[in-house]
Amino acid sequence: MKFFENNFTYDYSFPAVSLAYFLRYPNPYSRHVLTTDVIDRYVDPKTQRLHTIRIHLKKSKVPSGILKLLPKGMGGSDSSGQSYILERTIVDAREGWMETESRNMEWTGILSVVEKQFYKRLQSDEDRLAFDGLAIDKISEQTSVKTTVTFRSRIGQGKLLAKKRQDTSDIEDEESRKGFFSSLSTAGIQRTIELIGVSRTKEAVLKSKQGMNIVLERLRSGGVVGVLEGMRQDREAAFGPDGPWKRVWLQGKDRSIENDKS
């Protein structure tokens, strides 16, 4: 297992940052994100916290470094170049924090990537006291975010080849070891795959920050309307006026919506 951690502070208030989080796609740094859907959302009546579950469909390729380590046909030509991400968030507006978790839903045996973020309103009370004399720019609201990403490869542990979870996992484990993995160190392959994930994530975390900052800037200058207008332009720039869904079903395996001409 590998970890990646990053701390960052946005120069925006917590309400703005949490709104931008829900509004962050599309932005100019998110061309790989094809669709976003809300599958569950409710306010917990006890805590008043807002719970949201979304699915994002992203364009993604299995990195070639990882492909080389896989048995033939696995993660290769049959993969559609798209992957589903499950995202859960909890917002506590009163306490001023938001917790997010995103994970890949496929290929988790090869590499499971779980990104957790904790956004928190920065207490400015102390600042206010300390700078009471210089009242001019005391209201500089900020929001901190701590990002932790966990990488875990279970390749060679039998789960990879088990399409459906069955009680025969021991047998499959044996088979996979005897076959492909016998000559290689399972732990070594896992470590290599995890490290490839880490290096790709460093870039992705930077990009997602840049995307958030653009959305936040649009919020500041034009409010929600400004963000929506920016989105329309991003969407056209990325996919043309037809929107991204044409691409989705051209690449996807599902053919059930061919008659949709929108």
């Binding site: 309400p15 669709t35 989105m231």
Partner: protein, 81 residues
């Protein structure tokens, strides 16, 4: 607004998203947490979406992912509360 995975749900999704953003920024974030202005729209949107998720087998994938994450994450989430 971000597009839906199901093109036929884009219209209703856009209506729901717009409603949510308004509710979230004007009510929820200002402490009016108990209102649920967008429930009817969300129900329609979910009805449209669930059909497609089922057709493509995404619903079972989501089930699995929610379960696989729950052991560690729910405990962590609870600890915060």
């Amino acid at each position: 607004m971000a597009a839906s995975i199901a093109p036929e749900c884009n219209d209703i999704k856009e209506k729901y998203d717009t409603c949510f953003l308004k509710w979230y920024s004007e009510k929820y974030l200002r402490g009016n947490t108990s209102s649920n202005d967008c429930e009817a729209l969300f129900k329609d949107y979910k009805g449209c979406l669930n059909k497609v998720l089922k057709e493509r087998g995404i619903d079972t994938m989501v089930e699995d992912a929610r379960k696989s994450g729950s052991s560690e994450t729910d405990a962590e989430f609870l600890r915060k509360s």
